[in-house]
C-alpha cells in the first residue's frame, strides 16, 4: 500500500470523482456537530458501502485526521480522496466538504443583520448562547475528565499552566502550542529511549 495514488490512478474514472464529490457533499451537508460525528458517517460510506477503504486503514486515517491541524472533517475528506484517487481526488473531496457550509453560511450572513434585529430572533439567540456555553463546558468537562482520570500528573500540570497562560497572562497561543508540542515530543522520545534501554 506504498503508493495508493499510483495504484488507483489506473482505475480512476469520471465516475469515481463524481461519487467522491457527491458522497462528501451529502455527508457534509447533513452533518451537524463537526469532526467526531462526520468520521463514523464517512466510514459507513467508504468502508461499508463502497468498500474503497479497509477497516484497519480507516482507523489509521482517522488518527492522522485527528492529529493534523485543521477541521477533522476536512482532514478526513482529504485523506479519503487522496487514498481513492490521488491529489485530484483530495481536491474533489475538499470541494465536496467545504461547499455546503460555505453556501449555507453565506446565505445566513446575507440575512444576518435583519435576522439579528428581529426581537424574537434576538430572544432565541440569548437562550442559544447560554446553551452553546453549556455545550462547550460539557465538552471541556469530558476532555479534562479524561486527563484527570488517567492520573497523568504532567498533563494535568500542563492543562493548569496553559489555562493560566492563555487566560490571565495573555501569552501568545502560538507559543503555548509550540511549547506543548515540544513537551509531547520530548516525553515520547525519552519514553522510547527508556524502553529501548530496558531491552524492549
Amino acid at each position: 500500500m506504498d503508493s495508493t495514488a499510483e495504484k488507483s490512478g489506473k482505475k480512476t474514472s469520471a465516475n469515481t470523482y463524481l461519487t467522491l464529490f457527491l458522497s462528501t457533499f451529502k455527508i457534509s451537508a447533513c452533518t451537524f456537530g463537526g469532526g467526531f460525528v462526520i468520521i463514523p458517517l464517512l466510514r459507513k460510506k467508504f468502508v461499508e458501502e463502497l468498500h474503497w477503504i479497509e477497516e484497519e486503514e480507516m482507523l489509521d486515517l482517522t488518527a492522522i485526521a485527528q492529529s493534523s491541524p485543521g477541521a477533522i472533517a476536512v482532514n478526513a475528506s482529504i485523506l479519503i480522496g487522496y487514498h481513492v484517487a490521488g491529489v485530484p481526488g483530495a481536491l474533489i473531496t475538499i470541494l465536496g466538504t467545504v461547499l455546503p457550509p460555505l453556501t449555507i453560511i453565506s446565505v445566513i450572513s446575507a440575512f444576518y443583520k435583519s435576522f439579528r434585529d428581529n426581537i424574537y430572533v434576538s430572544m432565541a439567540m440569548t437562550g442559544m448562547l447560554a446553551a452553546v456555553a453549556a455545550v462547550i463546558t460539557d465538552v471541556v468537562f469530558n476532555m479534562a475528565g479524561d486527563i484527570f482520570r488517567r492520573k497523568d500528573v504532567a498533563a494535568v500540570l500542563m492543562l493548569v499552566l496553559a489555562f493560566i497562560a492563555v487566560r490571565y497572562l495573555k501569552v501568545n497561543i502560538l507559543i503555548i502550542i509550540l511549547v506543548s508540542a515540544l513537551v509531547g515530543a520530548v516525553r515520547t522520545l525519552s519514553k522510547e529511549k527508556a524502553e529501548k534501554e530496558r531491552g524492549f
Partner: protein, 188 residues
Amino acid sequence: MVLLQLFLSFMKIGVLSIGGGYAAMPLIQNEAVELHGWLTMTQFADIMTIAEMTPGPIAINSATFVGIQAAGIPGALVATAGCVLPSCIIVLTLAYIYYRFRGLSLIQGILAGLRPAVIAMIASAGLSLIILSIYGQKTLPADLTAVQVIPVIIFLVSFAVLRLRKPDPIMVMASAGISSVILLSIFG
C-alpha cells in the same frame, strides 16, 4: 489589504487548530475579535451559535462568516481557502509519511502533549462565552451577582441535561432557543 489579511489569519487558524472544531474557537476569537476587530464579541458568540446549528465544520462556518463580515463573498472564499490550505499540505505530507513508514508514534506523542493545552484554550474561550451570556458583557462586572437570570437558568438546565442525558447538542440548542423566547416574552 483586508483579503490578504483574512487569508493569512485563517491560514494561521488552520495551522494552529489541532483537535477539531472547538480548538479553532479560541483562535478565531483571538484573530477576528481581538487582533483585527472584524467581529464584535457578540457577533463572535452569534457565529459560534450559528455554527453549532448549521452543518459543517465550525472552522469553515466561521471562516465564511468572518470573511463575509469583513469583505463580502470574496472575503468568505479567501478565508475558507486560507483555512483549508494548511490542512491540505500537512495532511498529505503525513499521509505520505504514514504510507512510507507506517509509524506515527512521535506524531501521536506530540498530539498527546498538545491535548492539555487545547483543552485549556477551549476552556478559556468557553468561559468568555459564559461571561458574555450571563452578564451580557465581555468582561466580569465589579458586582458578580449582577447576573441576567434567564440565561443563567438556561445555562444550568442545559448543562445538567447534557451531563445526565447526553442528548444531541442540536436538540439542546433548539429547546434553549424556544424556552428563551417564551421566558423572555413573559418575564423580560
